[in-house]
């Protein structure tokens, strides 16, 4: 067999890099934060930890207020955003996700409104139940959304990406709750933050190893810089958090590091997608393995 060129046609991309702007990277993060916080809020409520339930509820509502705004801002025709809801289309993860986001967002908003004004406890309980149950779906569907593309570094990581996003969601939601909750009620949030941070580091390293050469974008350019920042901040935050225990100031510093690490990890994944699509070598490489 003759040597097949890998730089293709004048090195031009074979697949188009995503046209999504940074709003979408922020949304990947906000969706995880919202999903993790909704579930944490529900679990805290069920176990009678009022202070933690309160802070997680407000975090979820804030993140779910920002999410649709970020998504709509990125549309080429923002005034047509409702077209997302003109069909129910299981073959489109973005359509499925928009429905999840709509229901979870409404529920989280209602929960927070009832919590803030201390009215309608039954409505609050119902809304919190809906938001809490949808939380894990909200935190992970975005992984399906981006792996359901022709971008090699995303599509070929389709098994690991949901775990990266789920653990990142736990880490960021736990961290936000550690920062916002009085230390004597924040035990579950601390554990969630630490478990999430460790899970995020593990899932990321498994993903990068399994990708092999296709995972190169995680070590070069902007994606590489974000990936390194994410690992450093998350590992430092986890270590400091474990050491800090219930000491509030040190705990919050650790939480800030874990929170920042989760943001950087989503940006690493987002940027790696662009870098992977821009270089035709990766497309050819992934498809030769397949054939």
């Amino acid at each position: 067999m003759t040597e097949r060129p890998t730089d293709g046609y004048y090195g031009r991309p074979i697949v188009k890099p995503p046209v999504w702007k940074d709003e979408i990277a922020w949304y990947l993060f906000a969706g995880g934060l919202a999903g993790g916080s909704s579930s944490l809020g529900l679990a805290a409520r069920v176990t009678g930890n009022r202070a933690l339930a309160r802070s997680a509820t407000f975090t979820a509502a804030a993140a779910l207020t920002a999410s649709p705004l970020l998504l709509i801002k990125d549309l080429g025709r923002p005034e047509r955003f409702v077209n997302m809801l003109r069909v129910v289309k299981p073959s489109s993860p973005m359509n499925v996700g928009t429905w999840i986001l709509t229901v979870a967002g409404t529920a989280a908003g209602a929960t927070a409104a009832c919590e803030a004004t201390d009215v309608l406890p039954r409505v609050r309980a119902l809304a919190q139940g809906v938001a809490g149950v949808l939380g894990p779906a909200l935190a992970t569907y975005t992984a399906v959304l981006i792996s359901d593309t022709a971008v090699p570094v995303w599509h070929e990581a389709r098994t690991e990406l949901p775990l990266v996003f789920a653990s990142g969601a736990a880490a960021s939601a736990g961290a936000a709750a550690v920062i916002l909750t009085p230390a004597d009620s924040a035990g579950p949030a601390r554990r969630m933050m630490l478990a999430g941070a460790v899970g995020e580091l593990a899932a990321t390293s498994v993903m990068e190893r399994r990708l092999g050469e296709l995972g190169e974008p995680y070590h070069t350019g902007k994606a590489g810089a974000f990936a390194r920042a994410a690992k450093t901040a998350t590992a430092a935050g986890a270590a400091l958090g474990a050491f800090a225990g219930r000491r509030p100031a040190m705990g919050r510093l650790a939480a800030g590091l874990v929170f920042g690490g989760a943001v950087a990890e989503r940006f690493a994944v987002f940027r790696a997608g662009s870098q992977s699509a821009e270089d035709p070598r990766y497309v050819v490489m992934s498809q030769r393995d397949r054939s």
Partner: protein, 283 residues
């Protein structure tokens, strides 16, 4: 039914009932392409596709670059220090020029159509794939979903929507030939019922191979490939990647059930994890 392989798409012909028409497509025979770019010009004229940049790339005669929102036919030019046919150029200065007019593949299993969240991308009664410009909200999901990099967002004067080849839906639905095929002076671009084109392409490949074009192959004619075969397929004279085409494209949604299963596992782990964190007491 004829002995042709089944090339039915998801929404054609069944969902069209009596309105379904024979599946139409392109066969682009690059062995007779002369690189005149009449297809590019005719496409732009007929479809009123805006200007896509007046660039000098230095990449042979290609100053168009590739398909996108404002380029629906793209002629590729490749210069190779190899003989065109086996036995040519034995005096040591072997050289050949490959030219190919690229276009949307109108896949049997179209990733763009599958992932479109608004239903803006549809399968027509001719089995072709069209973006409805009055529905598209410019979410951009189809752009990285397409395994060929065909679709792109038009960033001109707040347009923001995604555009691509319609296989001249306004012409073809009236029984006319698409502008590019009409303008092609060498019949490199042939339009017709897909099963007829496949037969013709098979015969043409045999002839080209017999004539000594060693690298000749059909690209996208196989209904068992990763996208179920193209509605617009090609006769190429070299590997697909030489022309900037993916060697083994797949419809990404083929793996969607597997992706949702992975997400369900991760979501379950998150739910169990959150519950477990609450068990250890509030401090």
């Amino acid at each position: 039914m004829s002995a042709q392989p089944n090339v039915d798409t998801e929404a054609w012909p069944e969902s069209y009932g009596d309105e379904a028409r024979p599946r139409m497509g392109f066969f682009t025979d690059t062995s007779v392409c002369i690189g005149c770019k009449a297809c590019e010009v005719a496409c732009k004229e007929w479809n009123q596709v805006p200007e896509d940049g007046l660039l000098f790339t230095g990449d042979s005669y290609d100053n168009t670059g590739g398909l996108g929102a404002n380029t629906w036919r793209h002629v590729a030019f490749i210069e190779q220090d190899r003989p065109l046919r086996v036995g040519d150029g034995e005096d040591g200065d072997a050289f050949r020029w490959l030219m190919s007019s690229d276009v949307c593949k109108h896949c049997t299993h179209s990733a763009c159509l599958d992932v479109c969240p608004t239903g803006a991308i549809i399968r027509t009664e001719l089995g072709t794939v069209v973006v409805q410009e009055d529905v598209c909200n410019g979410c951009g999901y189809c752009v990285p979903a397409c395994p060929f990099g065909v679709l792109d967002k038009r960033e001109i004067e707040d347009d923001g929507r995604v555009w691509k080849c319609t296989l001249c839906y306004d012409r073809t639905r009236e029984g006319m030939t698409p502008a590019c095929a009409q303008a092609c002076p060498t019949e490199s671009i042939q339009y017709g019922p897909l099963d007829e084109l496949r037969e013709r392409a098979g015969a043409r490949l045999d002839k080209v191979v017999a004539d000594g074009f060693a690298g000749a192959r059909l690209y996208g004619e196989d209904p068992t490939d990763g996208v179920g075969g193209f509605g617009a397929f090609f006769l190429l004279l070299d590997e697909p990647e030489v022309y900037g085409l993916p060697p083994n494209p797949v419809d990404t949604t083929h793996d969607l059930p597997e992706m949702w299963r992975s997400a369900a596992v991760a979501a379950g782990a998150l739910a169990v994890g959150v519950a477990a964190c609450l068990l250890g007491g509030r401090r």
